[in-house]
């Protein structure tokens, strides 16, 4: 089978985001989505530190320490962008104004529970940032993650073993193997990568999957 690499995953997510959407891209893998948004399609990126209309990385030497994204990387502002303070920024998130949040994950459960902030290890120092706000606040939560852990275990699970970021909040999962919708009656496979059968995906995933007519 042809597993998707990180850029292919990002491009696949980008393809599904319609014109005019307001979108927050989480730190890490989701940030890559910005590089794959189709040219000429207007999509407005939100960064929770207080900006809408985030543009591409500035040219070397053009960085402005007062203009960064939530990952603390220098960014630019598109024409039509705006600034606001932190309470207003999270009011925007919590108040369900964002169309999509794209988040990384350790695990997603069949019920759509998300675990992405804390390994739960005894010695681990916890840090949550805006993850819980985004998980509960965006109209649609899209998760991007590898399908399997390095040990080959499924990250799509019956119940999350890691501490939750949010309960029943994930709408769709994009992995390097498949796209899966989380619905009240279970997990629906929307797409599978070339060369991978539904049965093999089912075997790798462990929890029950439903086959869509459009699935390979």
């Amino acid at each position: 089978m042809k597993k998707l690499d990180r850029n292919q995953m990002a491009a696949r997510v980008a393809r599904d985001i319609p014109e005019g959407s307001y979108v927050n891209l989480g730190i890490g893998l989701p940030t890559l989505v910005a590089d794959h948004l189709p040219k000429g399609r207007e999509i407005i990126l939100h960064s929770e530190n207080g900006v809408l209309g985030v543009g591409p990385k500035p040219a070397a030497g053009e960085e402005d320490e007062d203009l960064i994204n939530a990952g603390k990387e220098p960014v630019t502002l598109l024409a039509g962008g705006a600034y606001f303070h932190h309470a207003d920024s999270f009011a925007m998130i919590r108040g369900r104004h964002l169309d999509f949040a794209v988040l990384g994950a350790f695990q997603v459960s069949v019920a759509g529970d998300l675990a992405n902030w804390h390994t739960g290890g005894a010695d681990a120092i916890p840090a949550v940032g805006g993850a819980m706000d985004l998980a509960m606040g965006a109209k649609k939560v899209l998760v991007m993650m590898e399908h399997l852990t390095k040990k080959g275990e499924s990250k799509i699970v019956e119940r999350c073993s890691y501490p939750l970021t949010g309960a029943r909040c994930v709408n769709r999962i994009y992995t390097d193997l498949a796209i899966i919708d989380v619905k009240p009656d279970g997990l629906h496979v929307v797409e599978v990568v070339e060369g991978l059968s539904f049965e093999e995906l089912q075997r790798l995933t462990g929890v029950p999957l439903k086959r869509l007519l459009t699935a390979a």
């Binding site: 959407s21 039509g80 309470a87 925007m92 998130i93």
Partner: protein
């Protein structure tokens, strides 16, 4: 796949966001009977006069209106009340020297009034936009306006529990917009508009000017376009008449 709802949707084919509408009539065409509508403005400052006129012409009935007042004289919100379109009103200061249409409807039992202290009205609207489920405010504790409401002592003070006010539509006025729906206001005309924009599913804005994208200084954009669905430019002659 289209997850989006309540969009402008009048120009879906063009590969560009454009929230501008050709007329107030077009921007309000889909308001159904029974809708909850926030109307911005404090006095004439920030009052979206052209949108209110269009709402009267549009004909929707049995409306719930959220506004600081309950209409003045014979125009605007007062005319909407006179036309018997308003079932209920949330406001802080209904009784004024020239609120005769409201006064009559209220005394006749035709209109329900939920009287809310002005700051609580503002905070309830803000809470709706900010996804807050409820909040405790010290305002009105121990008064008639807190009767029957849940209260709680927190630290040294007593508080009243208040819930958000959500709306289907907000009709507001701003000074300048762009095609993304970003808004800049002028002086005290700002008043309720930014919070109402955040609390409604479909915010419609009357503006003096629609500027090129990028022409508004990002530091002066008070309402980012994420809160705005539809923008209508109203000529300055109408603005003067407001």
């Amino acid at each position: 796949m289209c997850f989006l709802k309540w969009g402008g949707c009048h120009n879906g084919a063009l590969p560009m966001i454009d929230k501008s509408f050709a007329s107030a009539e077009a921007a309000l065409a889909d308001i159904p009977d029974g809708a909850t509508i926030m109307i911005g403005g404090f006095g004439n400052a920030g009052m979206p006069a052209a949108l209110i006129d269009a709402l009267i012409a549009q004909g929707a009935r049995s409306l719930t209106i959220v506004n600081n007042n309950a209409g003045n004289g014979d125009t605007g919100l007062a005319a909407l009340i006179a036309a018997k379109r308003v079932r209920k009103i949330f406001c802080s200061f209904p009784r004024q020297a020239d609120s005769w249409h409201f006064d009559r409807a209220y005394r006749a039992g035709e209109i329900e009034l939920e009287l809310v202290p002005q700051g609580t009205l503002a905070e309830r609207i803000r809470a709706a936009g900010a996804g807050i489920g409820a909040f405790y405010t010290p305002t009105a504790y121990g008064t008639l306006l807190a009767e029957g409401k849940e209260t709680r002592r927190i630290g040294e003070r007593d508080y009243v529990l208040e819930y958000p006010i959500h709306a289907d539509y907000a009709l507001i006025k701003a000074d300048r917009a762009d095609r993304w729906g970003n808004l800049a206001y002028r002086k005290t005309a700002r008043n309720f508009a930014p919070i109402m924009a955040s609390a409604a599913r479909c915010t419609v804005v009357q503006v003096r000017e629609i500027a090129q994208l990028g022409a508004l200084d990002p530091e002066t954009i008070v309402t980012p376009g994420i809160f705005v669905k539809r923008v209508v430019r109203i000529g300055s002659s109408l603005r003067k008449a407001a």
